[in-house]
Amino acid sequence: MKSFTNANPRDVAHAVALSAQAHGANRSVSFAGGGSDLLALVKDRIVAPDVIVNLKTVKGLDQVAAAPGGLTVGALVTLDALDRHPVVRRDHAALAEAAGSVATPQIRNVGTIGGNICQRPWCWYYRNGFPCLKNGGNTCFSANGENQFHAIFGGGPSYIVHPSDTAPALVALDATFRVVGPAGERMVPAAEFFILPRDDAKRENVLAPDEILASVHVPAARRGTRSTYHKILDREAWTHAVVSAAIVLELEGGVCRLARIVLGGVAPVPWRVPEAERVLVGQRITPELAAQAGEAAVSGARPLAKNGYKVPLTRNLVRRTLVELAARA
């Protein structure tokens, strides 16, 4: 493995300063939360930081704080802790279920919510060191290559899919991210945090080089709200979603007042499908209506040569998840 130096910040502002200082000295920097994804990328020589700013030493970012306005989840909270947190499980089931569906127990015990949101793509061309758009090249090899697991929405010029399970859940739950950088902090709605390759193919989110995702705010669940996260895998364990759906429904007397449906595994960003949501609002969710919403969800799909199977998979996942969620007591 390439050698690097460790920087251990006291707090978030110090972490930002250490990063800026290293960049000022013309050294490359990576932030590490749990470090699992970063260390694998460094070993595979996909990234080669001179300095790793180890966020684990920042105090207080590993807490979940529940208040009447909602939950504040520090970026260093592990996926395992999130999956087990009683308030998250009760009020924001989609987030607990998404966190619990990530990778393996060993990864969830170390991996953080911040790192899960900010992990790099798992496209096999990128991870195997092809000179692709994500690796600083000018080609997306998946466009006309092995694109079985690539995007059916929002692709071009890169066709990666966003690999995070928690990201679609957080967009569906209308979360806001607190981002800290050299100029101070800013609040970014989860829905605006992720960026499409057509806007910038080099990165997956709005974080500037010295910026850190510090915490996630999930607004309190409104009365009658329920949520879930369903994930389809090509094997039973330890992989990313082929297709996933995070759905939040607000029901009043059996009638849908609000629906947010966000898909994972199908687009370079968590992919919201307002076409499907509109089918549901003001209606009782019957199996027939759920099937219509599934149809609407895939109406904008543009599959590549080898991932057309994702279209019926997505359609049926949305239908099944809606039926199951609407029936929950």
């Binding site: 493995m1 390439k2 050698s3 690097f4 130096t5 460790n6 470090g35 699992s36 260390l39 694998a40 460094v42 070993k43 595979d44 790793i52 180890n54 684990k56 395992d80 990778a103 393996t104 127990p105 060993q106 990864i107 015990n109 170390v110 039973e236 364990a237 330890w238």
Partner: protein, 162 residues
């Protein structure tokens, strides 16, 4: 170089290593604890699984510096000179391992599971082993061994409260 002190199997151990050293290499190359194995080196196979502060982790994906000041339990910490750990005994009884390369990782994942959940369902066991690959024995005899230990433990009288 970074100086790291880790409480390994109940004993404080210190070493000075380059910052890119993983916990796995620290254990194997500095402390001569070669039970945890280097398999894929990227967190896919789980052969390097150890427990840190009571949780199973991939020691190949944790830097030695991240383990500084923490409690690490490796496969070498399970048995005593007199006796195997009940999980090891059960694996031996049922022939749950063939080549054995994955064994230390599997056993640490099983121990982490039973420490948190003494009465796991079969699905709980399968979920707990999701991060450990075995390429020769298969998983059925491992699951049976872990179930056997859980049941034996459940049959034991509850400890008297102090």
């Amino acid at each position: 170089m970074v100086t790291v002190t880790v409480n390994v199997n109940g004993e404080p151990r210190t070493a000075s290593v380059p910052p890119e050293t993983t916990l796995l290499r620290l254990l194997r190359e500095q402390f001569n604890l070669t039970g945890a194995k280097l398999g894929c080196d990227v967190g896919d196979c789980g052969a390097c699984t150890v427990m840190v502060d009571g949780k199973s982790v991939n020691s190949c994906l944790m830097l030695a510096g991240q383990a500084d000041g923490r409690d690490v339990l490796t496969i070498e910490g399970l048995a005593t000179l007199e006796r195997l750990h009940p999980l090891q005994e059960a694996f031996e009884q049922l022939g749950s391992l063939q080549c054995g390369f994955c064994g230390p990782g599997i056993l640490m994942s099983a121990k982490a599971l039973l420490d948190e959940n003494p009465d796991p369902s079969e699905q709980d066991i399968r979920d707990a082993l999701a991060g450990n690959l075995c390429r020769c024995t298969g998983y059925i005899k491992m699951i049976e061994a872990i179930q056997g230990v859980a049941r034996a433990d459940g049959a034991r009288p509850a400890p008297k409260s102090a």
